[in-house]
Symmetry: C2
Subunit: 125 residues, 2 copies
Amino acid sequence: MKFDDKVPIYYQIKQHLYHEILAATLKPGDKLPAVRQLAVDLTVNVNTIQRALSEMITEGVIESRRGKGNFVTQDTARLAQLKEQLVMAQLALVYAQLHALNLSDDEIIESLKRYIEQKGAAQND
Amino acid sequence: MKFDDKVPIYYQIKQHLYHEILAATLKPGDKLPAVRQLAVDLTVNVNTIQRALSEMITEGVIESRRGKGNFVTQDTARLAQLKEQLVMAQLALVYAQLHALNLSDDEIIESLKRYIEQKGAAQND
DNA sequence: CCTAGTGTTCTATTTAACTATTACACTATA
DNA sequence: TATAGTGTAATAGTTAAATAGAACACTAGG
């Protein structure tokens, strides 16, 4: 995994895991890879994995069972809520950024459409 | 100015200045506030300001004139190019994030529209 | 009971960002 | 030429992220 050195690695790992869970690559109740395995896979230290996981445990996304492993919560309502929050946060961010560049609401929507069309033309998804 | 502690301060300052320039709050040829003044305004050290500025000088956005000050470049073509790049980069980012959450192209566009409508309803812009 | 696999915690060290401080270089102007 | 305002650069110290390594706690299975 490649990291952006502008953002703490533990935070990027957290976002990575969030995406896997909210995109249902990891389903409710699924067991995550062992922390030592994740550390190898992502070529970081166990402590860095642990830091990402401990925040997600606090947030109710992951349940930890000592001696067994880490598991995706089965609280699907919580997951749906978090997904909606994440989508809205992303949109709010990009909207604020583009609005700050003096793009109107319509221009923002249009430029997104243009981007998607260009993307589709450049490479079939 | 408030900073996100997940991202280096110098980098946030750079983005902040980019926005002011590309939104034409600071126009081509305009003089920027003195580095020591910026340091006071943004409550950071001069070196942190300098680091942001030196990258922007390398990128051709700002011209430095020793003893006089820092000035926005008058190369409007360069500015237009950078603005387009920045907009596209923002869109690419949010698209990738939402796509990774299994939202289709249409759903991404629709959710942006919904966000903007909600925003307009919640607070007149 | 022992062992392997798991999560958890602690200490020490390294590195990069940021700060504080000082000094230097150049420009304009009184 | 003296002074104030500007950018530039170097040094030293602080802090947080990340690493390395070790130890501890719990579970399952032979």
